[in-house]
């Protein structure tokens, strides 16, 4: 049971001729990902890092049998790119693009659900499974193959924690950055379900943030469905309420969405909750 990506991942990079698409298509290939094609409208026929570029996703899928797409295109073109990928039959779409309008995210996610497609993101660092494949922008160096499944709303904070795990001589089975936007294709719950089934994953780390109620919903799910031991960290414990901290909109309503509410729910569900990111490896070792 793979967690979103594995050796069978055949990847298209949408926006491959852009700076990020170019840079990360190379990085992903070096990680071991089977990057089979790039797509940039109007640039069909070119090559980037020896990867063939197509004008349309459908062409790339037909020519290469790709099953996954990683999207680097700018926000105004992102909805079009994601829907094109879904329409072309891709089964997993990882959207790196940030600042996607929330109504576009809603539309993409709804269509994906209807078509049985997995969307990760938007505004996420992607997914990495050391020794198998990486789809996204997570730094290659911080990973080490192991048994810790990491799921996180955050980008760089995920790197911090993954790095801390690796430095403590543990490793990751798969790390999924689900993104911190208001509407994400995949929530904690879906990833936890995959980790629970994944044989390689023995322990799970959940990295949340203040705002929204996704962590509380995850706690509900953990209580009923997750048997593997868990460590969690919630960023923003000391953030003043009512202030909007970057993408993590701290619109804290009716007592839900606060760090306290999240920590309490996760602890009640049996997870050890770290006060600081640097505590995560220590707690993992204590499990």
């Amino acid at each position: 049971m793979p967690v979103i990506v594995d050796e069978k991942t055949k990847l298209i990079v949408q926006g491959i001729t852009g700076y990020q698409g170019n840079y990360h298509s190379k990085a992903m290939r070096e990680f071991g990902t089977d990057v089979v094609a790039g797509v940039t409208p109007g640039k069909g026929g070119q090559k980037v890092n020896a990867i063939p570029v197509f004008d349309f996703v459908a062409e790339a899928v037909e020519a290469t049998g790709a099953n996954t797409s990683c999207i680097f295109v700018p926000a105004p073109a992102c909805k079009d790119a994601a829907l094109e990928a879904i329409d072309a039959g891709v089964k997993t779409v990882v959207i790196i693009t940030e600042h996607l309008p929330v109504l576009d995210a809603i539309h993409i996610v709804a269509v994906a659900r209807g078509r049985g497609v997995t969307v990760i993101g938007p505004n996420c660092p992607g997914v990495a499974s050391p020794g198998k494949a990486k789809v996204g922008i997570l730094p290659t160096k911080i990973f080490r193959k192991g048994d810790v499944g990491v799921v996180s709303k955050s980008g760089t904070l995920t790197y911090e924690i993954v790095n801390a795990i690796t430095e403590s001589r543990m490793g990751q089975s798969t790390c999924v950055g689900i993104g911190g936007d208001r509407v994400s294709g995949t929530s904690f719950v879906e990833v936890l379900a995959l980790f629970e089934k994944d044989r390689q994953t023995k322990r799970i780390v959940l990295v949340g943030e203040i705002g929204g109620t996704a962590e509380e919903e995850a706690a509900e799910y953990i209580k009923k469905n997750v048997s593997k031991p868990m460590v969690a960290y919630i960023a923003g414990r000391t953030a003043p309420p009512g202030k909007r901290m970057g993408h993590a909109g701290a619109i804290i309503a009716r007592g839900r969405g606060t760090a306290e509410s999240k920590v309490k729910a996760l602890e009640a569900a049996g997870a050890r909750v770290a006060k600081l990111p640097t505590e995560v490896p220590t707690l993992l070792e204590e499990l």
Binding site: Y19, Q20, A75, P76, E98, H99, P101, V102, L103, D104, A105, I106, H107, V109, A110, V111, G114, P125, I137, L138, P139, I142, S152, K153, S154, G155, T156, L157, T158, Y159, E160, N163, G180, R182, V183, S184, S187, V207, I210, G212, T213, A214, E217, Y233, A235, G236, T238, A239, P240, K243, M245, G246, H247, A248, A253, R254, K275, L276, P277, T278
Partner: protein, 369 residues
């Protein structure tokens, strides 16, 4: 992007939702004539303007000018209205609440309605609010409006009108990329009309690229917030004296949490986001200097944002500064070695991990004070 009441009402009107007749002025003498009883309303984005005296009735031009003059002098939770809306006073029979927002869990739009209109929806008991998720594939359909009307107990003769407003509000949200649209109160007047008494609309700032009409609007921002916005930097002023710069909201918050452990208090939250432009880093540093913290804590985990890019920007920024603020720098990730070499002689206080950086910055801030 939050819109002022008068602007939000203009959008409602454009989408066929009735609003009271009215006009906006920025000084009392711009009020030339007033037909019948009116309300004079402070145009500020903060709630609670009514209690603060920001909404006053008037029955003549003189009255209205006096009210406007008083309102334009008011300090409403730190904000001073630059404009007032003068609009026909409604003969209220009933006040309802109708709103739309994003349902993060269900990943869709949510229509909300309550018979307890006129007060902050947050303070209405949950049982008195109808929440209807709108399936994005289904879209708004008549049964949604019928459910709202049924829940609110709207009289039969006005049901079609309220249903129509529900449909139009949903269209408005989709067409205008509103992430919040509230009509509170939705007034039923004594003569049986249904009119938006107040309106709050927040446009999704990520969608402004397809709504150029909002470019000319100004938000109620402090000068530093204004600058941060132009730089596309998340910037929040807080109570402490340590300026925190990190990349990514989660990492920046985690840095705040770490500071807290060591007794340090953040005075600025500055999330660089993902950037590979030294110019942006430089401008962020200059902005931070303007906010005048005692210590700067720079915490970078390089990915999209490469460490050497940050180093370049930081060097350029501190070069021209007269008053040298101590900078604790923790730089990790892509190209960290290059960055370390670049910053070696710049007088920064290096830290190898997040905890160490937080500890150093906290100590430094205590020392400087």
């Amino acid at each position: 992007m939050k819109l002022f009441e008068y602007y939000a009402k203009g959008i409602l009107a454009r989408h066929g939702i009735p609003v009271p007749e009215g006009f906006v002025v920025s000084s009392p003498d711009q009020i030339r004539s007033v037909r019948g009883p009116v309300m004079v309303k402070a145009q500020v984005l903060m709630g609670g303007r009514g209690k603060a005296g920001g909404i006053r009735p008037a029955d003549s031009v003189e009255d209205a000018r006096k009210a406007a003059s008083a309102i334009l002098d008011l300090n409403i939770s730190g904000y001073i209205a630059k404009e007032v809306l003068v609009e026909r006073r409604l003969d209220v029979a009933k006040e309802l609440y109708l709103g739309m927002t994003i349902d993060r869990s269900r990943k869709c739009l949510l229509m909300m309605a309550s018979a307890s209109g006129g007060m902050d929806i947050e303070s209405v008991p949950e049982g008195e609010i109808l929440m209807l998720p709108i399936d994005p594939l289904i879209g708004y359909q008549d049964y949604i409006g019928r459910k709202v009307v049924g829940f609110l107990g709207v009289a039969k003769e006005r049901a079609a009108h309220v249903e129509d407003i529900c449909r139009r509000l949903c269209e408005l949200v989709l067409r205008e990329d509103a992430e919040l649209a509230e009509i509170n109160p939705l007034v039923i007047t004594k003569d049986g009309r249904v009119v938006a008494g107040d309106a709050k609309i927040t446009i999704d700032s990520d969608a402004l690229f397809r709504h150029r009409e909002y470019d000319s609007l100004k938000e109620d921002l402090t000068p530093l917030e204004e600058k941060a916005k132009r730089l596309d930097i998340a910037f929040v002023q807080l109570d402490g004296n340590i300026g925190v710069i990190a990349n990514g909201a989660g990492l920046t918050m985690a840095t705040l949490d770490s500071l807290n452990t060591y007794g340090g208090k953040a005075g600025v939250f500055l999330d660089l986001g993902g950037t590979d432009d030294p110019e942006k880093v430089k401008n962020a540093m200059l902005l931070m200097h303007e906010a005048n913290p005692k210590v700067i804590l720079l915490n970078i985990f390089g990915g999209i944002t490469k460490c050497d890019t940050v180093a370049k920007g930081v060097l350029e920024a501190i070069e021209g500064q007269r008053a040298k603020i101590p900078i604790v720098a923790r730089i990790k990730g892509v190209n960290e070695e290059i960055a370390r070499t670049m910053l070696k002689d710049a007088g920064l206080i290096p830290a190898s991990g997040l905890s160490e950086a937080a500890e150093l910055a906290s100590k430094e801030s205590a020392r400087v004070v």
